[in-house]
Amino acid sequence: MEKNTEEPLKTAGGLYRVELFFSKRRMILIPAAFILFLAVPLMGFNQYILRIFTVIGIYIILSLALNLVAGYTGQLSMGNAAFYAIGAYTATLLLLRGGVNYWLTIPLAAVLAGFCGLLLGLPTFRLRGSYLTIVTLGFGEIVRMILMNWDSVTNGTLGIRNIPAPDFFGITLSLRNGGFYYLVLFLVVLVSAASWFIVNSKIGRAFVSIREDEIAAQMMGIRTTKYKALAFVLSAFFSGLAGAFYAPMVGYIDSNSFTFEVSSQIISMAILGGLGTMRGMFFGAAVLIVFPEVSRFLMDYRFVIYGVILVLMMRFRPQGLLGWQPRVPVRFSKTVRSDLMREGILPEGE
């Protein structure tokens, strides 16, 4: 119809230039970053630093998992520690009691966690907002109680100790030889890629539409209950994956490792970085794992400051530190461009 000449997107500003820079050079930068991370264990860091890197990896996975539910689908889950726990216990029990190969326990644990996500989800998805949140919170507490009391299976409050580290072609993984670091790096890449592929598909768009306006989403033919369930299942699956990795890394598990504080820490990470963005999860996990390590001297004030940060964030930057909306144009693939060109409807600026 009409022709509009005004600038469609604000393209000025440093941030835009940074985005554009990364966008254009992503084919070089991503492999470069990957190689850099591959080289970390060779940089002569001590065990402690490698452990921090590895724990950051675990929490990146947990945050990415939460992000699918809370960030994209807009359903705040306060019980993700439960799925993390289910993953950890399942993997451990399969390994120790079931004699299952370690490399199989990881996917199996994740599947069971995902299944529990579905179990939690089915009866509760007609609940909205705050109600759903409180149910997830209650679920987290119930799971913890079960882990604490089901002595014959979970060994109760004693937890399970001496979980053996896995072998990889004859090499026993440890923090010192960087084995756990590489494994978590692999899992982070896997979960990031899966998360990226899901988010950038009709599934991810359905998630976001539920977050933005559930009624309007239904009017687009989106089965919101099904997609909410899917988001929960995926979130539980990835959290379970993180749990299955965690157990043999630390060598013991008990119910105290999966408290409400863990759930609330994952939430804080996602929020600090920026819910609904993937970059934010990496950032949030890194900062909130490193912060307590470098701030031990603050003692009790540490958690006061932690609270102050959350409050200030919500007040002044609720979208998270890295939660800006990207301004670089949507990328059309070559085929789409040629199709558009053929039909003569290629939008301006392309």
Binding site: M1, P8, S201, K202, R205, D213, G221, V336, D339, P347
Partner: protein
């Protein structure tokens, strides 16, 4: 046979009859308007048609099949799509993504196709991306493709909602006050656009207050007041119906009181 047939539909909210024994029909290729004073039950009618509210009595046939009390998703699939009176866009995503969400049911691939980026995924994404751009081009938003929905001015948000509704592949489009908040030039343009839709085979049922729009493009008009159908017919007939004038003037008097 009519594309949409509503027979004796009633719905009450705790004693209050919001829709009272309403029957109407829309033929294929028609533009039909639903008018009436505020609170007459027009939007409630839309909510019934799209499955948000369940009715107490009556029946609704679309394309010959009963659709009353079906869930919204099934109704969209059957071919009815709508816009909202108080625009309900997905505000924090891009314009093109809004339309792609609208394409949801026309995109045929499953979870694993997405996860593994199968050729099926690529093909469907490519086709629908082109389709989405085409729809934006059609409604005059091709310059806004990359922008965020919340950044659009009011008029363009309305257009985007229409584009999103069209994206579902529906045959019958329900427009809830599409001209609200538009200046005369914009409404004139909207009018041409709606006529264009009919030209492309869409059927339209709309709620509208802007009488210049209603009178100019409607094939037929239904008038609701207090949940009851008080008049129907060609634009000229309805405009001269004393009951309609009464309903509107009464409404005005009420406001003044």
């Amino acid at each position: 046979m009519a594309l949409l047939e509503i027979n004796n539909v009633s719905l009450s909210f705790g004693g209050l009859k919001a829709v009272d024994d309403v029957s109407l029909y829309v033929n294929k290729g028609e533009i039909v308007s639903l008018i009436g004073p505020n609170g007459a039950g027009k939007t409630t009618m839309f909510n019934i048609l799209t499955g948000i509210y369940k009715i107490d009595h009556g029946g609704i046939l679309f394309d010959g099949y009963p659709i009353q009390n079906k869930i919204p998703q099934d109704i969209v699939k059957a071919g009815i799509s709508r816009t909202f009176q108080n625009i309900r866009l997905f505000r924090n995503i891009r314009v093109i993504e809004n339309v792609l969400v609208g394409c949801h049911i026309t995109i045929k691939y499953n979870f694993f196709d997405a996860l593994f980026r199968t050729p099926k995924y690529r093909r469907a994404e490519r086709q629908n991306m082109v389709r989405a751009v085409r729809l934006l081009y059609d409604v005059g938003l091709s310059h806004r493709v990359h922008d965020y929905a919340s950044n659009l001015p009011y008029g363009e948000q309305r257009k985007l909602e229409i584009a999103r509704a069209l994206a579902t592949g529906a045959k019958l489009i329900l427009l809830d006050e599409p001209a609200a908040g538009m200046n005369p030039q914009e409404s004139a343009e909207l009018l041409r656009f709606i006529l264009g839709l009919r030209g492309r085979g869409y059927t339209i049922l709309m709620i509208e207050h802007d009488m210049s729009v209603v009178m100019n493009i409607s094939d037929r008009i239904y008038v609701l007041d207090y949940g009851k159908l008080i008049s129907q017919g060609l634009p000229q007939e309805v405009a001269n119906d004393p009951k309609v004038i009464e309903a509107y003037l009464g409404g005005i008097q009420n406001v003044e009181n």
